[in-house]
Subunit: 130 residues, 2 copies
Amino acid sequence: MKIGDAAQRSGLPAKTIRYYEEIELVAPARGANGYRDYSDNDVHRLAFLRRARGLGFSVAECRALLSLYDDDSRASADVKRMALAKVGEIDAKLAELTSLRDTLARLAATCHGDDRPDCPIIEGLAGATS
Amino acid sequence: MKIGDAAQRSGLPAKTIRYYEEIELVAPARGANGYRDYSDNDVHRLAFLRRARGLGFSVAECRALLSLYDDDSRASADVKRMALAKVGEIDAKLAELTSLRDTLARLAATCHGDDRPDCPIIEGLAGATS
DNA sequence: GCTTGACCTTCCTGTTGCTGGAAGCCTTAT
DNA sequence: ATAAGGCTTCCAGCAACAGGAAGGTCAAGC
């Protein structure tokens, strides 16, 4: 099937699919006219990539996951380790974002928000220790 | 003062400071030898940038904040609006990350994580609707 | 059989926010 | 005098694509 159909079925934009080929995550066949020709298995890989990327795995991590995916003798422990590490990363990011949100919200709350020029947010950004 | 000192005082790497000059966020003086010469005010701006960037403001937003910062007649309402919009963005990101984290954790929890090749995580990524 | 329009191809550029390195001055300390 | 370190510029590249130009191809309709 052609790239447009593969895009529709996998949920990825065609541009992204071509990019994934360029960085060698998928290797579709080529028709006589030069058009890319995707098998069901290719589409499967693409959908896999879309989900994994959507879950926050980097392209490098997706590459590793794909090699596990391709490897019938992989140990599920390997995959679990990667998933749990990712959960840890996400937790760290969540904590960071939360504290950041609170700092900003606190600054905004102390701002009277009118026409006067003095503003605690600006002052907080300019010199606050936090 | 020279860039090294400015870096130390502002908490930004020298490379980043030069980059900020390139994109015209700061405009230090130059000494006779061609060295950049930072005033206290420059360092202040740099520290402001470091904090704002650390709070998740984009460089474009920082530029806007700096122009407010420079403008003595600004309304604090403008700043408050930006800050609150940013809080909203962060909340959205938090929600997204949280759901992502839960999906991954759920996948990991159902994985026995031993030497056997079958792995619910891989299967979940390969075909799950979620 | 010819046109139209939708697709496909490649290639190049731009995005965001830096970071690293190379080559070469300048300064400071010994 | 010399060595180490800091400063300068410029060039390259990272992630992960997105946008667009220029051109080839294909199926349908008239």
